[in-house]
C-alpha cells in the first residue's frame, strides 16, 4: 500500500491567527480518510493548502512518494488531484454538460489555432461523450442541457462531483459533500464514495458523522489548527479528547 499524498509540519497563519500548526496527514492508495473537527478548526484551510489556494508558511508536500513544491490551483488536475468546494462552485450560466466538460479540460487537445479555424468538432464530441458518462455515473445524465443555476440543490452537488470525477483523479478532496442534503441523497453519496475507493483515494471533510463513520477507514481530527487525534475510525471516535472537542454526547452516546 503506497502513500499517494503526504503533508507534514504544515503551518498556516492569517495575520496573527495560526490556522494550522504542524499539521500532518497521509493518504494511502485506495483509502478514504476522514478529516473532522470543530468549526474553524482548519479543515478547509488544510484542503486549501493542498490545492494551492492558501500558501503555507512552512511544511512539506509529497505526492506519490516524491517531495514536491506546493502546487498552484490549476496544476492540481495535472497532479491527479480533484476537489469540490465547500460552497458548490458550479459555473452558474453554463449548462450542466459544459460544467462537466470544463472538468475534462486536461483531455482537450485542440489549441488556439484549431479553435480559430473551427477544427474542434471531433475534440468537442469526445469531451461531450466523456462528460455524459461522468454525469450518468452520478445519475445526472438527464440534466445535461439545463443551466447550472436552474438546478435543485442536491442536483448541483451531483454535478459538482461529476465535474471532479471526470478528470479521473487519483486523489479526491471532498469538502462537506453531504451538507444540506436529505437522507436519501446522503445515503447515495456514502455509497458513491465507497465505490470510488476502487479508482482513487479520498480525503473527506464532513460534519455528518453517519457518513464519515460509514465510509472512512481512518480519521484525522483537527482542533484549533492542530491534529488532536488520528488513526482507525472506531478508535478515534472513542477518543475522549475528540468527544469533548467535537462530537459531544449525542453522537458518541448513540
Amino acid at each position: 500500500m503506497s502513500t499517494l499524498l503526504s503533508v507534514a509540519q504544515v503551518n498556516v497563519t492569517f495575520g496573527g491567527l495560526r490556522a494550522l500548526k504542524d499539521v500532518y496527514l497521509d493518504l494511502h492508495e485506495n483509502e478514504i480518510v476522514g478529516l473532522i473537527g470543530p468549526n474553524g478548526a482548519g479543515k478547509t484551510t488544510l484542503l486549501n493548502a493542498i490545492s494551492g489556494l492558501v500558501k503555507p508558511d512552512s511544511g512539506s508536500f509529497a505526492l506519490y512518494g516524491k517531495e514536491e513544491n506546493w502546487p498552484k490551483p490549476h496544476q492540481l488536475v495535472g497532479h491527479g488531484i480533484s476537489r469540490t468546494l465547500q460552497g458548490v462552485g458550479l459555473f452558474a450560466d453554463l449548462t450542466v454538460l459544459e460544467n462537466v466538460m470544463i472538468g475534462a479540460h486536461k483531455f482537450a487537445s485542440a489549441g488556439l489555432g484549431r479553435a480559430l479555424l473551427g477544427r474542434t468538432a471531433k475534440d468537442e464530441a469526445a469531451l461531450r461523450d466523456r462528460a455524459m458518462l461522468a454525469l450518468e455515473r452520478v445519475y445526472a445524465g438527464g440534466l445535461a442541457n439545463r443551466r447550472a443555476d436552474t438546478l435543485a440543490y442536491p442536483e448541483t452537488k451531483r454535478v459538482s462531483i461529476a465535474r471532479a470525477l471526470i478528470s479521473e483523479p487519483k486523489i479526491l478532496l471532498l469538502d462537506e459533500p453531504a451538507g444540506g442534503l436529505g437522507k436519501e441523497d446522503i445515503e447515495w453519496l456514502g455509497q458513491l464514495i465507497k465505490n470510488l475507493r476502487r479508482d482513487c483515494s479520498v480525503i473527506l471533510v464532513e460534519h455528518h458523522m453517519d457518513v464519515v463513520m460509514a465510509v472512512c477507514e481512518r480519521l484525522y481530527v483537527l482542533d484549533f489548527g492542530e491534529v488532536i487525534s488520528s488513526g482507525g475510525a472506531e478508535k478515534v471516535r472513542q477518543d475522549p479528547a475528540v468527544i469533548a472537542a467535537y462530537l459531544g454526547t449525542a453522537v458518541s452516546g448513540s
Binding site: 492569517f14 473537527g37 470543530p38 468549526n39 474553524g40 478548526a41 479543515k43 478547509t44 484551510t45 465547500q86 435543485a152 440543490y153 442536491p154 462537506e176 451538507g179 444540506g180 442534503l181 436529505g182 437522507k183 436519501e184 441523497d185 460534519h207 458523522m209 472537542a245 467535537y246 462530537l247 459531544g248 454526547t249 449525542a250 453522537v251
Partner: protein, 238 residues
C-alpha cells in the same frame, strides 16, 4: 400571537413551490418544518418574511397581514428570518454583522442590544475570538453561527430558522438546539425551524409540519410524528 397561514400558494415562475397550504403556528411553540430537498421549506419561510411574494393566500400575524408587508416592516413586527446558506454580509466584520441586527431596535433599546450581542458571543465563543475579522474569511461553520447570531440580536417574537445545523459540528448542533429550547422557554418566543435533520428537530419541537412537493401532508404534534413509523418511513425515509 399566532401565525396563521391560509390557502397559501407560491410559484417560482412555472414551478409551484407551495400549493394551498393552511396551518397555524401557536405562540410559544417550536414548530419543525420537514421535508425532502425541494419540498418548498425555504420558499415558505422566504414568503413569511416577505422576501418572496405569494401567488395567493394569506399570512396573518394576529391582525397583521404579512403577505402585504415589506420585509423591513415584517422584521419590525418582531419576525426574524435566518435564511439558509450562511447569510451574512461578507464584507463586514463579525462585530459589524451583529451590530447590523440591532440597528432597528437600538434607538430605544441600546443597552438591550448590547446585552443581546454579549449573549451571542457567549453562545458562540468562536465569534467572540473573531470580532474584527471580515466575515468572508470565516470558516463555513463560523459563518453559520454568525448568521444565527445576527437573527438572535433582534430578539424576535417569531424566529424563522432555515437549516441552522448546516455545516456545524455535532457538538454545536446539539448546543444550538438546546439553546433554542431554552430561549423559547425563557422568552416565550415562537420558533419555526426548517431542518433536514428531522429527528433532532422533532426532538425539541412541539409540533411538526411535513411538506411533500409543496403540499402540507401532515401538521401534527411532534411526538406523534416521531412515533408513527409508517409516516416516518413514507416521508422521512426511515
Amino acid at each position: 400571537m399566532t401565525l396563521r397561514v391560509r390557502g397559501l400558494t407560491i410559484d417560482h415562475g412555472a414551478i409551484r413551490a407551495i400549493s394551498n397550504a393552511t396551518f397555524n403556528i401557536p405562540q410559544g411553540s417550536i414548530t419543525a418544518v420537514i421535508g425532502a430537498n425541494g419540498a418548498g421549506k425555504s420558499t415558505l419561510l422566504r414568503t413569511i418574511s416577505g422576501l418572496k411574494r405569494a401567488t395567493s393566500g394569506n399570512i396573518l400575524w394576529e391582525e397583521l397581514e404579512l403577505h402585504r408587508l415589506q420585509t423591513e416592516q415584517i422584521v419590525r413586527a418582531g419576525i426574524v428570518h435566518v435564511p439558509e446558506g450562511r447569510s451574512v454580509v461578507t464584507e463586514l466584520t463579525v462585530a459589524e454583522n451583529l451590530a447590523l441586527g440591532g440597528i432597528w431596535r437600538s434607538r430605544n433599546n441600546k443597552s438591550d442590544v448590547l446585552a443581546a450581542i454579549a449573549e451571542v458571543y457567549e453562545l458562540f465563543p468562536r465569534l467572540g475570538e473573531r470580532k474584527k475579522q471580515r466575515a468572508d474569511t470565516l470558516s463555513g461553520g463560523e459563518r453559520q453561527m454568525l448568521a444565527i447570531g445576527r437573527g438572535l440580536i433582534s430578539r424576535p417574537q417569531l424566529l424563522l430558522l432555515d437549516e441552522p445545523s448546516l455545516g456545524l459540528a455535532p457538538l454545536v448542533v446539539e448546543q444550538i438546539f438546546q439553546t433554542l429550547a431554552e430561549l423559547q422557554k425563557s422568552t416565550g418566543m415562537t420558533i419555526l425551524l426548517v431542518e433536514q435533520n428531522a429527528m433532532s428537530a422533532l426532538r425539541i419541537a412541539s409540533q411538526g409540519i411535513v411538506l411533500d412537493q409543496g403540499q402540507v401532508v401532515i401538521a401534527d404534534d411532534a411526538r406523534a410524528i416521531m412515533n408513527d413509523t409508517a409516516l416516518r418511513y413514507a416521508y422521512l425515509g426511515y
